[in-house]
């Protein structure tokens, strides 16, 4: 086999597969930075994938599909926010419920759509000039959809917002110490609602990407546990949008390799690779510098009640 073309293909597909992970992780980072764990990422992604496909198929344009995916993700996330912020329900259980519900509902609604190819998928965008560079061009700039570049841009923007603006300080202080933020006049509930909703929008688009761009069709359970990888990646990236980029594309490569290497190893064993790596990566970061641990938002998972410690 031609070694360069193999590498070019692998990197290009790994990048493409990393996109939904990147979008999902960026969203979860914001939710968790504000102090809310959302284990419903898998549910939001599959709902986004279904809504994206159904709307893009009906209206004949992928843009509407992605918009619908974002909207559905936001709705699901707002439901989680309502339960956990307003009703102060257990965040873990609410997220799990969202995943169960999302997988069930998408499976139920998607029955009639199964196996039909999308008539108007989101096409690849070749970046002018850069895509003509040998090796690097086809590797990075030819077979990617607009969502790859938008995701990368988003990671940078979200990093800047989080660490260089007043909004970012508000979000982080709500996640670290909501009582302090509250006493400074920041509305804890509003910040958390917004961050969780943003998480839903990004997870929804990540799911929509799968059914509208990456594999333009609807298959039940097509997110295949990516939502859970997203949650591992959020920890792995130390709640930092820029570090999420590396993590997402590393796992994108693992997913892609699990298809690519099927000629040599049995596919069932390869498919467990990303999940095994997720545990390994978290375990390895447990060995590492304690600095990593210190970055988990202080009030993560704790509902805020004014006047209670």
């Amino acid at each position: 086999m031609d070694w360069t073309s193999w590498l070019v293909g692998t990197v290009s597909r790994a990048l493409a597969f990393g996109v939904p992970l990147l979008w999902g992780t960026l969203g979860e980072i914001y939710a968790e930075r504000s102090g809310v764990v959302n284990l419903g990422v898998e549910g939001m992604m599959i709902l986004g994938a279904y809504a994206g496909f159904a709307v893009a198929q009906t209206l004949g344009h992928p843009g509407w599909g992605l918009l619908a995916a974002a909207g559905v993700g936001a709705l699901a996330a707002l439901w989680h926010a309502f339960l956990t912020v307003t009703l102060r329900a257990n965040q873990y259980v609410s997220g799990l419920a969202l995943t169960l519900f999302g997988l069930g509902l998408a499976g139920l609604l998607g029955r009639g759509w199964e196996g039909r190819p999308l008539r108007a998928p989101l096409g690849a965008v070749a970046v002018p000039v850069l895509s003509d560079v040998p090796v690097l061009g086809p590797m990075l700039f030819r077979d990617q959809t607009i969502l790859t570049y938008l995701g990368l841009l988003l990671a940078v923007v979200l990093w800047v917002v989080l660490f260089r603006t007043r909004w970012g300080i508000a979000i982080r202080s709500v996640g670290e110490s909501p009582a302090t933020a509250d006493s400074l006049g920041i509305s804890v509930a509003r910040v958390r609602y917004l961050c969780v909703a943003l998480g839903g929008v990004l997870a929804g688009v990540g799911g929509g990407y799968l059914s509208v761009a990456y594999r333009p069709a609807w298959t039940e359970g097509m997110t295949a546990g990516m939502g859970w990888i997203v949650i591992a990646l959020t920890i792995f990236s130390a709640w930092d949008p820029l570090q999420a980029i590396w993590g997402a594309f590393f796992f994108g490569a693992l997913y892609h390799l699990s298809f690519r290497l099927q000629a040599y190893v049995s596919p069932e064993l390869l498919k467990m690779m990303p999940y095994a790596f997720a545990i390994l990566v978290l375990a390895a970061s447990g060995f590492g510098r304690a600095r990593w641990r210190a970055r988990a938002p202080g009030a993560l998972g704790v509902p805020y009640v004014r006047g209670e410690r």
Partner: protein, 368 residues
């Protein structure tokens, strides 16, 4: 403290049992009403759907036995999970632990030479061991390397599912199964007896009910149970009291995973008589058991009854597929709705409404 017109809302710390039961019951009812909307959206009259379900599950012997058969794995997984949840360890891995038990039992059934009389007991033992090992790994990862157990237990579900997939497609694929992804059928000595005329494999059911009683006694009457509760309620207090967090967690998970694995033994030895793809062995029992344990509020005895409720929902799912033409995924929607409704109702329990009219508030600008 809040005033709503003539009503006075105040907090209470520990809701009495009757309130817990009443609110949980209402929550399930609300979820069923919401599910009625799903039926309606699907073009099926909710009244007809619920009456069909009622008649088909609770109204016939076959239906009742189906509820119990579906409840068996939920009892075992649910009882195990109450242990883990009491220690505040988020074991989301019952699904994988169940499958680990199924794999170990299959190994003993097909590939180990033992006298016939010992085969089934050995399958249960091996299953328990495999589930315990699969469950203790996340506990150790949490204690030693601070790996979040939600992630690790979940990932291990996927890993075990692919191991099963690999076994039935590869090394354990039955030569007599004509290309299907099954192992060979178990020998008769490895099949659990059924209650005549039903599909209830009663030994697993007995083990499940027994486990519920034993775990209840363990939690309320033994030192380990006490330590589990302390670790769960206040880890700092546990540390000051000299309780070893690591060994308590590990023991709780050995039991939790072992019990979930027994459910897997029951499924392969009592229902399928062979190992097949993970989606067929389990149908998400391990995940549903989380709701079972949550609804039971950590009580193993209550988990037996909540497991029966979810057995009913699974049986209803089967029924809806055959009589109403609704896909089986509707059980997932049901389960999600029930869980949502349960956790929303949690807050309700911790507030007490008192009638305390006050003239001024009654004239009503309180927003009502």
């Amino acid at each position: 403290m809040k005033r709503l017109g003539p009503l006075f809302l105040e907090r209470r710390l520990a809701p009495p049992r009757s309130v817990v039961f009443g609110v949980s019951f209402l929550a399930v009812l609300v979820a069923l009403l919401l599910a009625a909307l799903v039926f309606w959206a699907y073009g099926v009259s909710p009244v007809r759907a619920y009456s069909e379900i009622g008649r088909g599950t609770l109204g016939t012997v076959g239906g009742l036995s189906d509820i119990v058969r579906r409840a068996i794995p939920l009892i075992l997984c649910g009882v195990g999970l109450t242990l883990a949840f009491r220690a505040q360890f988020w074991n989301i891995g019952a699904e994988g632990q169940l499958l680990a038990g199924a794999v170990a039992a299959t190994g003993v059934a097909l590939f180990v030479r033992v006298p016939d009389g010992f085969r089934l007991p050995l399958m249960f033992l091996a299953g328990f061991g495999a589930g315990a090992v699969w469950a203790v790994v996340p506990a150790l990862l949490r204690v030693k390397l601070r790996v979040n157990e939600v992630i690790s237990t979940l990932m291990m579900n996927y890993i075990m599912a692919y191991i099963v997939e690999w076994l039935v497609h590869g090394p354990w694929k039955g030569p007599t199964m004509r290309g299907f992804a099954y192992t060979d059928m178990f020998p008769v000595s490895a099949r659990l007896p059924l209650i005549a005329g039903t599909r209830i494999h009663w030994p697993t059911l007995a083990v499940g009910v027994l486990a519920a009683v034993v775990v209840a006694l363990l939690l309320s009457r033994t030192r380990l149970g006490y330590e589990i509760r302390v670790v769960g309620q206040n880890p700092d207090a546990a540390r000051y009291a000299g309780i070893s967090f690591a060994s308590v967690l590990a023991l709780a998970m050995v039991l939790s995973g072992g019990l979930a694995a027994l459910a897997g033994v029951g499924e392969v030895a009592g229902v399928h008589w062979r190992l097949r793809s993970p989606g067929h062995v389990s149908m998400g029992y391990g995940y549903t058991a989380i709701i079972v344990a949550w609804l039971a509020r950590g009580s193993p005895i209550a988990a037996v009854f909540t497991a029966l409720l979810f057995g009913l929902i699974f049986a209803a799912g089967d029924l809806m597929k055959t009589t109403l033409g609704l896909p089986f995924q509707i059980t997932g929607v049901f389960n999600g709705l029930i869980l949502f409704s349960l956790i929303s109702s949690d807050l309700l329990m911790y507030w007490r409404v008192r009638w305390a009219p006050k003239e001024k508030a009654w004239t009503g600008q309180a927003g009502l």
